[in-house]
């Protein structure tokens, strides 16, 4: 679907992206991670044809990205903005039509989404009257209304309460099931674990970690196990570190000596830990 090939981009002396390459296959949810100022937003802007790379290329379905095929992309920027003076319905329709929908298509899609997110009553409200979360929902609809093949979401959950964050999460998953490829840029590692198939971690403009989420967690395992035993008639829960070279069975035998084991499971490192560890090293 999307191929980023050896892309570099500098602003003056600062190198924002340094030979980044990544590939987003069709139909997956791809996580774009990295600390603040790592270059994620610059990369997303290159994908959106807002800015051009100094070197390297960004290909969408094998074609260099320009305004013509950028209509297949839906982009929710991190810093959101809508015209304050417009009504919700008019605004959504306007953005849909700028993305190339006909007036009729725009109306149909808008009605569909307003029903789906249960915001029909906002249609004639001014954007100005909306709360931050409400405006966020409107912006989400404006991002997906033209049925893009590729959806780029920059911090899609910020500003939402847990209930609405979950509604948006479900909608993203639904779109993904229906065939939309999603690039998710977020600092929320729980949602990365829950939603993303693959990730790229960018730090100082370089891709420092790339691959399948489960594989990455496997690679970063530290041999820590959660063990629940009955010792002297009492239930004790512990995290136990495996010794170097020790097999699981050897560990269990060591543990069994002190009491009856009722639970034994490996704890994979969270993406949060991996993120911190990778960025700090």
């Amino acid at each position: 679907m999307l191929i980023i090939n050896n892309v570099s981009k500098s602003f003056g002396q600062k190198r924002a992206l340094d030979h980044i390459s990544l590939e987003v296959p069709d139909g997956i949810i791809y996580g774009l991670l990295g600390p603040n100022g790592a270059g994620k937003t610059t990369l997303i802007r290159i994908i959106n044809a807002i800015t051009a790379p100094d070197s390297g290329e960004a290909l969408l379905d094998g074609q260099p990205i320009s305004l013509e095929n950028a209509a297949q992309i839906g982009y929710l920027p991190e810093e959101r903005g809508l015209y304050k003076d417009m009504r919700v319905g008019e605004h959504v329709r306007y953005l849909a039509r700028l993305k190339g929908l006909s007036d009729l298509q725009a109306r149909e899609q808008m009605n569909l989404w307003f029903k789906r997110l249960d915001i029909e009553s906002w249609r004639f409200k001014n954007i100005e009257e909306l709360s931050k979360g409400m405006a966020q929902k409107v912006q989400f609809i404006a991002t997906v209304i033209h049925r893009p093949k590729l959806l780029i979401l920059d911090e899609p959950f910020s500003g939402f309460d847990p209930v609405n964050a979950d509604i948006i999460r479900q909608e993203i998953l639904r779109l993904n099931r229906e065939g939309t490829t999603v690039i998710l840029s977020t600092h929320n590692m729980e949602s990365v674990e829950a939603m993303c198939n693959r990730i790229t971690l960018i730090n100082n403009g370089r891709a420092v970690l790339q691959g399948d989420v489960q594989q990455i967690r496997q690679q970063h395992r530290k041999g820590i196990y959660r063990v629940v035993r009955t010792i002297d008639g009492e239930q004790v829960e512990q995290n136990v570190q495996k010794l170097p070279g020790e097999s699981n069975n050897a560990l269990i035998q060591r543990l069994v000596a002190e009491g009856e084991i009722s639970t034994f499971e490996e704890i994979l490192p969270s993406m949060n830990d991996i993120f911190i560890q990778t960025v700090q090293s």
């Binding site: 959106n48 807002i50 800015t51 903005g81 003076d85 417009m86 008019e90």
Partner: protein
């Protein structure tokens, strides 16, 4: 592509015209204007003392009894007393006019005494009445028959009519004062329009930048289309507002204003009109023939072309400023470079009314930043067609160029956080689609 521009135009237009503040401002401005126009007349009507004034004349010379005839608002009584005595006896009068002797003698004076600050209008009336009488007496004293008529005849106003030959040798009346009036009036209109609505363009661009909607817009449309749509959409807003004002103004002039006009003023206006009817008639005819001489249709068409072209060019410059700065406060100081060429244009326009064929006027009517103003002033003086066509082409091409440039700056500006772009960077951006 043009489809998207049309979409942006209609959105910019609709968004602004349906705003409450637009509706209120559009309706309120003419009302304010009317109030400013009518209020002084009303106040004068209310404030003017309608009671009949009485003035006591103490005439030591005894020559001027006939100079004072009673009018509707002013009566005269003649008193022979000493000033202080008269004051005690006639406390009901408004004031005392004390004439010490024959006023043709420079040592003698007329002096007005009263308890209150005298009304300047009344003083003017008294002075006129008295000097007219004294003058007439003087003329009569020469004993030459029909002298008044002779004097009236001899004060003949001399006018020079200017006639211009065209190539075929036929004659055209010209009038530099009408050209000047016309040119300056249209310059003022263009200036007002540029600042009101060019400023609106700049504000719109700055807002788009500061509320970050531009990231969404720029990934959907070309910046050039965005700028073009915004500039034209706001121009239509401005024209709508102007049209409404002209309409309201017309109705006001025709129906409302006459109702407020005080009767007395009307009658005095009528008498003035009668007095100078002959003269005015002449001048009116002159205006008509002059306008015919400079071809009214041509002027109107060219005025519209330059008016719109001038607005578009300056609006695109305002858009470029809006695209380059980060916030509203910064934008104010950047408008100064835009103001300077307009002011320059107005000065050159004033100069050009006297020297329409000078090289300064010629070049400034080709340079797009001044041509909308300067060319309009030169138009009544038979400008060659090629000059007009060339200057219009330059004007509209510059507009497209500046809009294109402002689109590039807009896109580049997204990534420039407080950093000034270098020319090399701007060139790189300009080439990128």
């Amino acid at each position: 592509m043009s489809n998207k521009i049309a979409l942006i135009i209609s959105n910019e237009y609709y968004m602004r015209v349906t705003k409450k503040s637009f509706v209120i401002l559009t309706l309120l401005t003419p009302i304010l204007f009317v109030v400013v126009l009518v209020l002084p007349a009303l106040i004068m009507n209310i404030g003017s003392d309608s009671s009949v004034k009485t003035i006591a004349v103490i005439d030591r010379s005894g020559l001027y009894r006939e100079a004072f005839t009673d009018r509707d608002d002013c009566k005269f009584i003649f008193v022979d007393d000493d000033l202080q005595q008269a004051r005690k006896q006639h406390s009901e009068v408004t004031g005392f006019l004390y004439i010490t002797g024959d006023l043709t003698d420079s040592l003698q004076t007329a002096c007005y005494y009263s308890d209150r600050q005298p009304n300047s209008e009344l003083m003017l009336d008294l002075r006129k009445q008295l000097s007219k009488y004294v003058n007439q007496k003087r003329i009569d004293s020469y004993g030459i028959p029909n002298l008044s008529e002779i004097i009236a005849e001899s004060t003949q106003r001399v006018k020079i009519t200017t006639v211009k030959w065209d190539k075929n040798g036929s004659e055209h009346l010209t009038s530099s004062s009408i050209a000047e009036m016309f040119g300056l009036l249209s310059a003022l209109l263009i200036y007002m329009f540029i600042f009101a609505y060019g400023g609106m363009v700049m504000q719109g661009v700055v807002q788009e930048k500061s509320n970050r909607i531009m990231e969404i817009l720029i990934s959907s449309v070309r910046p050039f289309e965005l700028m073009m749509g915004k500039i034209i959409g706001i121009a239509l807003v401005g024209l709508t507002q102007f049209a409404i004002w002209v309409l309201i103004g017309g109705i006001t002039m025709a129906y409302i204003l006459p109702a407020f006009m005080p009767e007395t003023q009307m009658s005095s206006a009528e008498s003035v009109a009668q007095l100078s009817a002959m003269q005015q008639n002449n001048e009116f005819q002159e205006i008509v023939t002059t306008l015919m001489g400079i071809n009214l249709m041509k002027i109107i068409v060219l005025f519209v072309l330059y008016f719109i072209g001038g607005y578009l060019l300056y609006a695109s410059m305002f858009a470029a400023v809006g695209a380059a700065v980060d916030n509203q406060t910064d934008s104010q100081q950047f408008t100064i470079p835009i103001t300077i060429p307009i002011i320059l244009g107005i000065f050159v326009a004033i100069y050009a009314t006297n020297n329409p064929d000078s090289s300064l006027a010629f070049w400034c009517s080709l340079i797009p930043f001044t041509s909308p103003i300067v060319m309009l002033v030169r138009l009544p003086f038979e400008v060659a067609w090629w000059e007009i066509v060339l200057s219009l082409i330059i004007l509209y091409l510059s507009f497209v160029g500046t809009t294109w440039l402002s689109g590039k700056i807009y896109r580049t500006g997204i990534l420039m956080y407080g950093k000034t772009p270098t020319w090399k960077e701007i060139w790189k951006w300009a080439r990128y689609n």
